[in-house]
């Protein structure tokens, strides 16, 4: 569903539609669409918001679609993994919880985009034509999990700046709220990878640009923040300085990472 096409069509029958769109207040949207709202009420609320003539910018719609692609990838990955039996004790509850959140993120983004079916979902091949064995080898499963989560964190971070228009304000809130959930997932997935590989140097946070696949961690060794080189700040090590700041990825960088998993 293209929200702008709909608005165009409304405009054809109602010449004042655009002007009235501009009168929709942010406050009424924010009140209607607050976090405290029950999940089940979302579709209704979204519809109500649309009835109030509220629209997001085209740039924001692109962000939502991009995010939905990534969430589909994560949702299907955990869905298949959790059903496959590859997840070992004592980690089953962890990956069930992550899978639940990815499912919720997909539903939430679909609602925001007004999508009811799975037509936007790519077909995934998590084995890369048989080269990987994530659903029979727990190490591979956790390895891909940590890479997907760290990529997700970097992907949302890279899009925040595209949600700064006033009319997109609710979306910036939501994007940030998903972003930090992905970061919680990433930290725990990394901790599990560290445990099963017996490698304490794999920390819940990203040290320099260390990690594999390299493309997922490219640029994480950055020490320039807001134009200032913070190397040695507070007398702290380079490891700590780079761990203290997560870095964004561009949409193209993220898609290049995801592409090998899209059939």
């Amino acid at each position: 569903m293209n929200i702008f096409k709909i608005i165009d069509e409304i405009q054809q029958v109602d010449g004042d539609a655009v002007e009235r769109l501009q009168h929709a207040t942010r406050r009424s949207f924010m009140t209607k669409f607050s976090r405290s709202m029950a999940a089940a009420a979302v579709p209704t609320a979204m519809a109500a918001v649309f009835n109030k003539a509220y629209a997001f910018t085209p740039g924001a719609i692109d962000v939502l679609k991009f995010a939905l692609t990534l969430e589909y990838l994560e949702r299907d990955f955990y869905d298949m993994g959790n059903k496959s039996g590859v997840v070992k004790d004592p980690y089953k509850a962890v990956f069930q919880q992550i899978g639940k959140h990815e499912y919720q993120h997909v539903e939430f983004l679909k609602t925001a985009l007004g999508i009811k079916d799975e037509s936007m979902k790519p077909k995934f091949d998590f084995t890369q034509k048989g080269a990987l064995d994530p659903f029979t080898n727990f190490d591979t499963f956790v390895f891909l999990s940590h890479a997907f989560e760290d990529t997700g964190v970097r992907a949302y971070k890279g899009q925040a700046g595209n949600l700064m228009a006033k009319e997109d304000e609710p979306l910036l809130d939501y994007a940030l709220q998903i972003h930090s959930v992905e970061a919680r997932h990433a930290a725990k997935a990394r901790e599990i990878l560290s445990m099963i590989r017996n490698k304490p140097e794999i920390k819940p946070w990203i040290t320099r640009d260390e990690g594999s696949p390299a493309a997922v961690y490219a640029g994480e060794g950055n020490t320039v923040q807001g134009g200032v080189d913070i190397t040695g700040i507070g007398g702290k090590s380079l490891d700590a300085v780079t761990e203290a700041f997560d870095e964004p990825l561009t949409k193209d960088q993220v898609l290049a990472i995801a592409m090998p998993f899209i059939a």
């Binding site: 939430f108 925040a160 709220q177 972003h179 930090s180 304490p200 819940p204 507070g234 702290k236 870095e247």
Partner: protein, 238 residues
């Protein structure tokens, strides 16, 4: 440069006594010089914004500067907490806990020093933390408090996003909030290992969304941990 920085900022000054507010002069000057050269940190001069108010309250200021000072205040609190945690480790701290808590302490000190350098003359003063309710000998008290601080930090950065106008600062907040979320996740996992608690249903809602709180909700929650009174009246409103 690293070596020089370390020498100028001995571990037993700002770390153990954050309130002393030791400034690494060389770093500060270097930052200021770079900022002037790049223009990245040219902020509105608002000396009067952070003057103490009539009741001695610490005024965070207005606009983006106000939000950065808000973040700086929270980072001061977190840094001071973890410095104390690692100065007087609780009984029975495991190697894993020691590694994680030491790293987290370093990250929070880096965040604190970063905001201080970034804000320059617009920075609020060093705040006086009040940790009298925390039993630093107790694992439950320390990790329980850490959980509250980290979850609060995540909710605060999430809620500050829409209040920022400069995309550079929004990105910076994004770079920091995910590290706070990593901390929150792993502290929660130390308390309840390998359960859903790292991203528990007590904080993540039915849409898979994390906590989000505006400054007006966060500041009263952290007020008991700070002796100073904070005046947030100038902050942007949602």
């Amino acid at each position: 440069m690293n070596k020089t920085t370390k020498e100028l900022l001995p571990a037993n000054t700002s770390e153990e006594n954050p309130v002393l507010d030791v400034v690494n002069r060389r770093f500060f000057l270097r930052s200021a010089g770079l900022a002037a050269a790049t223009g990245a940190f040219v902020m509105q001069s608002c000396i009067k914004d952070h003057d103490l108010g009539p009741n001695g309250a610490v005024n965070l200021g207005t606009g983006d500067v106000g939000i950065l000072n808000y973040a700086y205040a929270l980072e001061q609190l977190e840094a001071a907490f973890y410095i104390q945690v690692m100065t007087t480790p609780f009984v029975g701290m495991t190697d894993k806990e020691r590694r994680f808590l030491t790293d987290i302490r370093d990250h929070e000190v880096i965040h604190r020093e970063f905001f201080k350098a970034a804000l320059g003359a617009a920075a609020i003063k060093g705040l006086s933390p009040n940790f009298t309710t925390i039993d630093f000998n107790s694992r439950a008290s320390v990790l329980g408090t850490a959980k509250v601080f980290e979850d609060t930090g995540v909710s605060a950065y999430n809620g500050a996003g829409i209040l920022l106008e400069n995309p550079v600062y929004l990105l910076l907040a994004g770079k920091i909030v995910s590290v706070e979320a990593r901390h929150a996740s792993i502290i929660r996992d130390l308390l309840n290992p390998n359960t859903p608690d790292f991203a528990g249903d007590d904080i993540i809602d039915g849409n898979g969304l994390d906590l989000l709180k505006r400054p007006s909700q966060v500041l009263p929650a952290v007020a008991p941990f700070i002796y100073d009174t904070i005046d947030a009246s100038g902050l942007p409103k949602p």
